[in-house]
């Protein structure tokens, strides 16, 4: 059975995929459903959901339409998640592949760098980066990607360490293939599955990290991110709890979707679990 087939037969993965499609659909529909700037003053602040037909999800404490913010926010959260993950996984794979393939001093040096990042609590480093370089959304995304690569590097390195000993790699070497070719064409495809699964975790973490920054008022106020909305809703948490509950739910659904897809992929790709009931 193909990996895709196994994935689709897994209920958790399937539900995750459906939820993720829902979030993507929300992101895609935002510009057509709410063509206006979602940050503009749409009406009187703090109108409850379902009380005004113009604002099905109500308005927040700065008079913005929450529905518009949620849909546009899906774009932001997905973008933060995807870009940060791509960055983090790319750095991780590059470092891990080089370290694992060459070993020796290359390995030592690269793992030293990874160790530097792991010694430092990642959220702390993120706070420092934002304090230094500002909280513009691009900066925040880069910073999130930058603080979360060491785990995927270690994962890749471990795979490379076992794979490079394999006979077919030895064969490639005797055939005179260049290192780059061996790394990219032969080892990498075999080393990727666990990293791809891990990417789900990175993406979920990235979205949660941005919301934690927004909670501390350190995210970009010029974009309608869900984290910002939760941060704003905190001030009115006790009465107008919906302001932070709605984006909280959106984050929950997205992170859940990404995690479920990751779990489904893991089950589908993990050979040891194949054929189990």
């Amino acid at each position: 059975m193909s990996t895709l087939g196994r994935f689709l037969r897994n209920p958790a993965g399937l539900i995750g995929l459906l939820l993720l499609l829902l979030v993507v659909a929300a992101a895609l529909s935002a510009p057509s459903l709410y063509p206006d700037d979602p940050l503009r003053l749409a009406g009187r602040p703090l109108q409850w959901p379902l009380t005004n037909p113009r604002f099905p999800l109500g308005t927040d404490n700065t008079g913005r339409d929450i529905a518009a913010e949620i849909l546009h926010g899906a774009r932001i959260s997905l973008a933060i998640g995807l870009v940060a993950t791509l960055l983090s996984v790319t750095i991780g794979i590059a470092v891990g592949a080089l370290a694992g393939y060459y070993g020796g001093w290359v390995d030592d040096a690269l793992m030293r760098i990874a160790e530097m990042f792991q010694i430092l609590p990642n959220f702390l480093l993120l706070l420092v980066l934002v304090a230094v370089f500002g909280s513009e959304i691009g900066t925040v995304t880069l910073a999130i990607g930058l603080v979360s690569w060491p785990a995927s590097a270690r994962l890749t390195r471990a795979e490379f360490l076992t794979l490079r000993q394999r006979e077919f790699i030895e064969a490639c070497r005797t055939l005179g293939m260049r290192d780059a070719q061996i790394i990219l064409r032969e080892i990498l495809p075999n080393a990727l599955p666990p990293v791809i699964v891990y990417a789900g975790v990175v993406m979920a973490t990235a979205i949660l990290l941005e919301s934690a920054l927004a909670f501390l008022n350190l995210s970009d106020p010029n974009v309608p991110s869900w984290g910002n909305l939760i941060g704003a809703g905190r001030a009115v948490l006790r009465v107008q709890w919906y302001v932070s509950a709605i984006p909280g739910l959106a984050i929950l659904v997205t992170v859940l979707a990404v995690s479920l897809v990751g779990q489904g992929l893991n089950d589908a790709l993990n050979p040891r679990l194949r054929g189990r009931p």
Binding site: D37, L39, R40, L41, R44, P45, L46, N61, T62, G63, A131, G134, S135, E136, N217, L218, S219, D220, P221, N222, R234, A235, V236, L237, R238, V239, Q240
Partner: protein, 532 residues
């Protein structure tokens, strides 16, 4: 006259006497005891009000360290460590008579030598705003232990000095500071004063404890102890108040929404009473180095484009009112009777002014773009930043908010001048000369926060500022400031958009509270706490 008539005639007097006795009893013997816990939303590093002028410092230290004067309920300066004062007609010599029989918490007597040392070595050299206020103070004479004579090189208006000394006139013991590096002195974090409460303990990041001073010159205060708890997170602070862990939070220590909500809760009082002396403005600063903002029509257009009453009603829970300029309407001594908010909300007028200035709508309806730096201070700063962004978008000015933390924002605006618009707070400290005119006076060094760093200068405003600062006739001073106010409202170098007062939330168990206009920074010598 029959006995009976005598009794009847004297009955009202008798009843009245009974009443007075009972009241006197209630006042003279308030239920002693109790630990009052107060919330502090930030920590100021040191507990020495003679080195650092900040409500966050006063809120704690004013119970342990006393100033020369304080304000009474009507806002009039009243004696504390100084019992009387007088000024010579030329305004260059001010003589204070000092209270006798006052001792420091360590037992040493308080005398004019202490006042001399504080004025010359601390207020004049270190204290923020004090250095400005006392820059022409030449010497303090001490003819006897209970007289201090302040000699100035230029006339010092007595009313300015007295109002300022409530905040900038705290006295710490000379014998602990003299001959030491004052910034490193241990008494900066373990204060010794003359006040009704004595310092007990300061646990960094957690709490400060003070206990009643049995030998205070007013007699021992009713409260056993005061505990100040540092809770930086507003929701956590609200929870502490609702569960009774904390009984009072001053200076908008908790969120606007929660103040509004708990104001309806019978257990608490939420009020601006007791903060009358601490008015502040929500401000909008312009960087005049931007070509567009150098044009007064654009600045006026921006003011016209912002619906301040809507913002107050919907964002600030009705707290505040449109400001008539940098002198708040609560400042009876200086507010001109005819002052009105100069630029009412008028979107059409705003658009017309922008067109007239030559900044017509271009592609996408945008005239030009500005970068707005909020200077973090309370939750209303980001709210106003957002509202300015939304309002200016509606008239074709695109605003990008640039978020920094407090240190970053101050640097960006005041040292690097790297902003187009900024928004923050202006604190009015009882007299425009203390910390208000510096927002407009030219010549302050680059990097000095809350001073004129806008790239704007007016000879007229500078001259009025200097003249008013050394005018000793109160009526003439008031007239000068009215003229000054008119000039800055006309030119609008920066915009004081909203006039605000701090709110206090306090448990109804607390008695004798909120009875002075700066109660959060008062000494609480009469404050009581009913059993909970």
């Amino acid at each position: 006259m029959s006995t009976r008539r005598v009794v009847l005639a004297s009955l009202p007097a008798f009843l009245a006497a009974m009443q007075t006795t009972r009241e006197a009893a209630a006042q003279a013997v308030p239920r002693p005891g109790g630990i009052l816990t107060a919330h502090m939303s930030g920590e100021q590093r040191i507990l020495n009000p003679a080195l650092r002028a900040s409500t966050g410092v006063y809120a704690i230290t004013s119970k342990m360290i006393e100033a020369l004067v304080d304000l009474d309920a009507t806002g009039k300066p009243v004696p504390v460590l100084a019992t009387s004062w007088e000024s010579t007609p030329d305004g260059r010599t001010v003589t204070f008579r000092l209270r006798e029989g006052v001792t420091w918490h360590d037992g040493k007597p308080f005398s004019s030598a202490d006042v001399q040392y504080n004025a010359m070595e601390l207020w004049k050299k270190h204290l923020n705003y004090g250095t400005q206020l006392q820059q022409y103070l030449d010497a303090v004479g001490t003819p006897d232990p209970h007289t201090a004579v302040f000699r100035y090189a230029r006339p010092m208006p007595l009313d300015l000095l007295l109002r300022a000394l409530c905040d900038l006139g705290y006295v710490v013991p000379r014998h602990l500071f003299e001959g030491t590096n004052v910034l490193e002195n241990p008494a900066n974090t373990a204060p010794v004063g003359t006040g009704p409460f004595k310092f007990v303990q300061y646990e960094r990041g957690q709490y400060v404890i003070a206990e009643r001073n049995l030998s205070h010159w007013r007699g021992a205060p009713p409260l056993d102890r005061i505990v100040w708890r540092f809770i930086t997170d507003r929701s956590a602070a609200t929870a502490a108040i609702e569960t009774g862990q904390v009984q009072v939070s001053t200076y908008n220590g908790i969120g606007l929404a929660d103040l509004d909500r708990l104001g309806k809760d019978p257990r608490f009082t939420v009020t601006t009473h007791g903060s009358e002396a601490n008015a502040f403005n929500n401000t909008l600063e312009f960087n005049h180095r931007r070509r567009e903002l150098a044009d007064v029509r654009v600045r006026r257009a921006i003011a016209h484009a912002i619906d301040v009453p809507f913002f107050i009603e919907n964002f600030l829970y009705g707290q505040g009112k449109p400001a008539a300029g940098p002198i708040p309407s609560t400042s009876a001594a200086f507010f001109p009777a005819d002052a009105k908010p100069p630029y009412a909300f008028d979107k059409r007028r705003a658009e017309a002014l922008l067109d007239e200035a030559g900044f017509r709508r271009g592609a996408g309806g945008v005239r030009f773009a500005l970068r707005l730096v909020p200077i973090p201070n309370g939750e209303d700063v980001p709210l106003l930043a957002t509202f300015v962004q939304q309002s200016l978008q509606a008239v074709g000015i695109r605003v990008e908010i640039v978020n920094y933390d407090a240190a970053g924002a101050l640097t960006a605006v005041y040292r690097d001048w790297n902003f187009d618009l900024a928004t923050g707070w202006h604190q009015y400290r009882g007299d425009p000369a203390v910390s208000t005119t510096v927002w407009y006076r030219s010549g302050s060094p680059k990097g000095a926060p809350w001073t004129n760093q806008w790239g704007w200068q007016s000879d007229k405003v500078d001259a009025l500022t200097d003249q008013a600062a050394s005018e000793t006739d109160p009526a003439k001073r008031k007239a000068l400031y009215a003229e000054w106010l008119h000039a800055v409202n006309e030119e609008l170098p920066i915009w004081m958009a909203i006039e605000r007062e701090f709110q206090t939330i306090i448990s109804k168990r607390v008695g004798n509270a909120l009875n002075t206009p700066r109660w959060g920074s008062a000494d609480w010598h009469d404050t009581t706490l009913a059993p909970g």
